[in-house]
Amino acid sequence: MEIIIILLTGFLFGCGIYLMLRRGLARMLIGILFLSQACNLAILVAPGLGPGFSAIIGDGETALAAGYPDPLPQALILTAIVIGFGVIAFSIALIKQVYQKLNIEDYDRLTHTDS
């Protein structure tokens, strides 16, 4: 199972980076989406996925069964997903404004504020 997630993470990173390097603002947005999902998966898989039980104390038991997976990375990802959602929402609004005001899609023409 872990190897699949690891390969998927790598695939998503590859897609994200490829899209960000494609010089189009809309593609860049989708690239950011891919990258943020890849990050979340990376955090999930980095400490190992564990045996696959959920870390919930069952009925009539007083402690967790041994070998439960660590729930903290999942909590971290939950936070990261929410933050990523906000960031993407802002980016979409920003890119829309850039289209409307500057009428630019290609990065290479976005050089007016560089020296």
């Binding site: 960000m20 603002l25 860049m28 950011i32 990258l35 943020s36 990050c39 990376a42 955090i43 980095a46 400490p47 190992g48 903290l72 990375p73 971290l76 936070t79 990261a80 933050i83 906000g86 960031v87 802002f90 980016s91 920003l94 890119i95 404004q97 850039v98 005001k101 500057l102 630019i104 976005l110 007016h112 504020t113 560089d114 020296s115």
Partner: protein, 488 residues
């Protein structure tokens, strides 16, 4: 005895932000709230420094969960100093925004976002948890995105795209770094990380990979070579107040994160990051100052100087001794005051001189000699001319550099200082001494809100210049706190 009410530091800006939200559309009331709340934050910050100096660090366990399980707010001397300076800059920025920020920006919620920015900055300085730091960074970043783009001018939007994209990518790298830290060490609490690394837990390779991710992420935020490109492309585009506050505070949050992680938490890591930081800092100093030399736009020159000066601060960290980190902390505080003041000066140059392009402005010395004085104090301080605060900061750093016989580094630091002075002289000669060209735009009015924060910060610089010992003592306490072997 009751401890210091640490919750005030994040809660004042948060409460103010919510109030600003309720007061939307009523600009006058919003202005009052902005000034009063940031003033309060400043008072609380300064009191916190005094409290920490006498009583040691203040800890607030949120929800009574103690560390390392719970996330705690913790103010040691470094955090206290940074919160205090956030209050000072927040206050000056609020004053400056009164005449500078346009009515339409105010209607779009400028004041609300400004308070959220301070909320995020304060939180970043106070948290004692790596992942929590990420969350605070995001609060700060999202606010800064909005502040940068709020005027919706063409240049602003373009600058915002560069700033937003690079910072989002950096945040993702930070997130992966935090995840890897947890994967290898099983903790995110700063003192616990230090403790476990010192005990030899976790694989050395895992720790190093995590450290590299964090180094890259914080280097982008701090504007270190070669990851600084977003800074000079965006910092000159928003309103003057926003650039001044960004220039003073935001890059320093990155420097703070570097000091906090690599000065303390990863201090026992086996010596990979600090040598890298050593080289990168020197490159940052040189590249920043050379970039500035080629510019003729006031705020672009100043933006490149931020980069160059960041190199000095991180070099102090790269040396790794208590004295050097103390010098770096002194440098951070000095630089925040001076740089914000220079950006305020840029706003007045823009208004009276008729533009920020040095070729199209001039004659300011005859027109506003008081501005010349207010510009010279921070400019000479930035260049490191005695007796100004920049001289003491550089002197302290140089002593530490020469303490380890790093002659190349010392000469680079000195030569970069000369080039810094060259840029300041360029602004002085072009904007102040040169005759006013006929093409200059008509001067616009300036208000008390432009001048008062400049005077306040200039007084701060002069105070630091005449009596640097006090801040040095505080910086030394902060550095010793950081380097103390971790206790749980």
């Amino acid at each position: 005895m009751t401890t210091f009410p640490l919750y005030l530091c994040p809660l004042i800006p948060l409460g103010a932000a919510l109030m600003q939200l309720l007061l939307r559309g009523r600009t006058r009331a919003q202005n009052v709230v902005a000034v009063v709340s940031t003033g309060l934050l400043m008072v609380v910050g300064v009191t916190l420094v005094a409290y920490v100096k006498t009583h040691g660090q203040v800890v607030l366990d949120i929800g009574d969960w103690t560390a390392p399980v719970g996330i705690r707010l913790q103010a040691d001397m470094l955090s206290a100093l940074m919160v205090a300076i956030t209050g000072v800059i927040g206050f000056c920025g609020a004053l400056h925004s009164l005449p500078e920020t346009s009515e339409s920006d105010m209607k779009r919620g400028y004041h609300v976002i400004y308070q959220f920015l301070l909320f995020g900055v304060c939180g970043s300085f106070l948290t004692n948890d790596l992942f929590n730091l990420y969350v605070w960074f995001e609060v700060m970043l999202l606010s800064s995105f909005v502040l940068l783009a709020i005027g919706r001018g063409k240049a602003q939007l373009e600058g915002a795209v560069k700033y937003v994209v690079l910072n989002i990518v950096a945040s993702m790298i930070f997130l992966i770094g935090a995840g890897l830290v947890y994967a290898t060490l099983g903790t995110l609490n700063f003192s616990d990380i230090a403790h476990r690394i010192a005990e030899g837990q976790g694989s050395a390779a895992g720790i190093r990979v995590a450290a590299v991710f964090l180094l890259i992420a914080f280097s982008v935020k701090a504007g270190l070579f070669p990851l600084y490109a977003w800074l000079p492309s965006s910092y000159h585009t928003p309103s003057h107040t926003v650039s001044a506050v960004f220039a003073g505070l935001l890059t320093k949050v990155g420097v703070y994160a570097l000091i906090r992680t690599f000065g303390a938490a990863f201090a026992a890591e086996d010596g990979f990051v600090l040598p890298v930081l050593w080289v990168v800092s020197l490159a940052t100093m040189v590249v920043g100052v050379l970039g500035a030399a080629s510019q003729f736009h006031v705020r672009k020159i100043l933006s490149f100087h931020i980069i160059s000066q960041i190199g000095y601060m991180t070099f102090g960290l790269a040396l790794g001794t208590a004295g050097a980190i103390a010098a770096a902390i002194f440098y951070v505080i000095h630089h925040i005051i001076v740089k914000t003041n220079l950006f305020f000066a840029a706003s007045v140059i823009d208004r009276i001189g008729g533009g920020e392009d040095l070729k199209k402005t001039g004659g300011l010395y005859g027109k506003a000699p008081w501005l010349a004085v207010l510009f010279l104090i921070p400019a000479l301080s930035l260049g490191g001319i005695p007796p100004f605060s920049g001289f003491w900061a550089k002197l302290a750093l140089l002593r530490e550099i020469l303490g380890v016989d790093a002659w190349v580094a010392a000469s680079i630091a000195l030569i970069v200082g000369i080039f810094t002075l060259f840029s300041m002289t360029k602004i002085w000669a072009e904007a102040f001494w040169k005759d006013r060209p006929d093409t200059a735009a008509a001067p616009r009015r300036i208000y008390a809100g432009h001048v008062v924060p400049m005077v306040l910060l200039a007084v701060g610089t002069v105070a630091l210049s005449i009596y640097p010992t006090y801040l040095f003592e505080l910086a030394e306490i902060a550095a010793n706190d950081l380097l103390k072997p971790p206790v749980r």
